[in-house]
Symmetry: C2
Subunit: 406 residues, 2 copies
């Protein structure tokens, strides 16, 4: 019996009870309307915490410090984030600065530095302007409705904020899961992603918390692609403070199932919004691979397809060039039988049994013009199903990344 | 004692003794000056043959047929190639058509279909126009100086032909290795590449032939990238007819070493020319990773760097954004110590011990403006060295691949 999960109107990272957040503009990024570049997130009670982090061999000292403070035996209270500077590849100074950022935030929030996490995103190879941190972190005043400020404070080249919250009831108590993320470029996460912060007032067993987060990340952030590049600063965090007053959630019951499903919905929404808002993108590409030998095959093939530059440019140009979809699926080197493959663009079938069928080209061109393009590939060799999300590749991506240091 | 290897002026695939080639325009591609779309290559004596082929799970029936005719126990005489149509994802008809192409070529050349190989390149999902094949294959008359015609006949979106030959002397007998290739888009080969045909008049033991080709492909075609996509039709072939009259080359002596080095030079030249002529490219990017823990680490890291869209766009925009180079090297997930990394752009050092050093930005911007940009990364953790080649990513790549079915 699955518990119903409801969307929270204007949901954000502070929709879960007991979380507050806020942001300020310090001048790390170039100024602009509504721009913020330092954010604080705080729980009024200690939280269990789970996280997944970049698998790049070169990682930011903020990731190293934060991951050392995440684990089943750890409790945290707060997160400080800055955008505009990644604090990466700057030598030992990076670790010193990351630690000082948590001290500044802890002092402002009345918690300890050890229970404060830190994330940075922006240009690699430039030191954090600590003078600005010392001046502006003390100016951030978290509020219960400050989720959107926090969402704005973590953006870099993103065009809009990414926020969501969903809720479910257990024994008359409402449990909420909220989250924010940022993305844009250098997006092809591997067991982690760019920055995403999720919160819940559910009372979750720490081991189950990490297990549930890892499972959700596998089906969300790890299935998106903007440009095949993997950031040095990727981090997804999940804080659970138990403020909903419910019983412990530790797996094996309806509440656990609902919590896992709610978290998956939050992570998939945040991941899809990152793909939709990829640098230079005009549309979201959703790839569904079904009938695969295994779920892992389907996940791999769908992601290869969502990551292929030739698929991305074909969708941008509304070119029903399904040969590129075949190439990309085959690149995944999974089990398949070419003569069994069916292909659909927004539910219009264009390939049956591995060969083109007579279809109305104009309707497919028109389907490719919509804001969301769904490519569905049925391999017809098993029951494995997987989804991935990407965006189209446009001239603007090239202009953007050749003309600016980002 | 290494034997000296000399460049052959205007060298091509027919520079090795006993090989002839030719081409014709049949109308499979859109017409244009100097355009040809069917090519024949023939040896006047039976050849030992080696090959490497696409590792994509979906491969062209021409690849399947050709690979079945390549092996240590096989002899071949000829190759027929068409451009403009990949003969891929067209069902059983693809196999029928590939076989008939070898029959048509065999009849024209006076050899058997079984000793004739076939390759196709072009749009996926469209049947080969066999009526044109039946009319035009009989019109091709291979000549000893027909290498350039053959080189033109295999091009698709390439802007120029890719040809080379080198030679070395053993006991007074000149041995020549020649080759042609084509590339352009869908270029990120895995244990194979787009089309490349290499020939030699050396008398090479078949097992040594395959071993030498595989080793050369690993350090050439498998180290280039245009767009991260892997074709369904990739093939590299090497035919050895022994016409130089030399002793058998089977490894373990100076002649074998010279042959392997000559083949490597031919393969690297052809691979680099594919990278340089990538769709929309304005410059060649050469990445050298040295001081790596192992050679494989260096090969992997250099290729990740040459494949990164953010590195490609930074080079296009002359942006000395070395953080992207760090990100790309780290993405390879190899053994490294960030605090030991040195980075150079065309020999100008920009990073020492993992941190930016004071350098003249204008000289680096100027270096990034040259036709060939060399990015060198010294990891300083071992003796492994590897090279890879890519091209910049420009608006033209996007326009090209969104506006046309290619």
């Amino acid at each position: 019996m699955t518990l119903p999960i409801a969307s929270v109107p204007n949901g954000t990272v502070t929709s879960a009870r007991g979380f507050s957040a806020g942001g300020v503009f310090a001048g790390i990024k170039t100024p602009g309307p509504d721009k913020l570049d330092i954010g604080l997130l705080i729980s009024d009670q200690p939280c269990s915490v789970a996280g997944t982090f970049s698998q790049n061999s070169i990682i930011s000292p903020t990731v190293t410090l934060t991951s050392s403070r995440v684990g089943v035996d750890k409790k945290v209270r707060a997160v400080v984030v800055n955008s505009g500077c990644a604090n990466t590849a700057v030598g030992e100074q990076g670790t010193t600065d990351a630690k000082e950022m948590t001290e500044l935030a802890a002092t402002q929030l009345g918690v300890t530095a050890e229970e404060t996490l830190v994330c940075s995103t922006g240009v690699i190879g430039v030191e954090i302007p600590m003078a600005l941190m010392r001046e502006f972190i003390p100016q951030v005043s978290p509020k219960e409705d400050g989720g959107n400020e926090f969402a704005r404070a973590i953006l870099t080249t993103d065009k809009r904020t990414k926020e969501i919250a969903v809720s479910f009831d257990v024994d008359g108590k409402t449990h909420t899961v909220g989250g924010v993320s940022k993305g844009s470029g250098m997006i092809h996460p591997n067991m982690a992603t760019m920055l995403a912060f999720t919160t819940t007032d559910a009372n979750v067993d720490p081991a189950f918390l990490q297990q549930t987060l890892s499972a959700a990340v596998k089906l969300s952030f790890n299935q998106i692609d903007v440009d095949g590049d993997q950031s040095t600063n990727d981090a997804v965090l999940l804080m659970a403070n138990g403020a909903a007053g419910g019983a412990v959630i530790s797996g094996g019951d309806d509440a656990s199932e609902a919590f896992a499903e709610a978290l998956l919905q939050v992570c998939q929404h945040l991941a899809i919004e990152i793909a939709r808002d990829g640098e230079g993108a005009t549309k979201l590409i959703e790839v569904i691979v079904e009938g695969a030998h295994t779920e892992d095959d389907a996940l791999k093939a769908s992601r290869e397809c969502a990551s292929s530059l030739l698929v991305k440019t074909a969708v941008y140009g509304r070119d029903p060039n399904w040969g590129r979809i075949f190439m990309a699926v085959g690149k995944a080197q999974i089990t398949l039988d070419e003569s069994k493959i069916d292909c659909y663009v927004n539910d219009i079938q264009i390939v049956a049994n591995g060969e083109a069928i007579a279809y109305n080209i104009q309707s497919v061109v028109s389907a490719l013009g919509s804001d969301e393009v769904r490519l569905r590939v049925d391999l017809n060799v098993g029951n494995g199903r997987g989804m991935a999300w990407g965006c189209d590749l446009t001239e603007e991506y090239v202009v953007f990344n050749s003309a600016y240091t980002t």
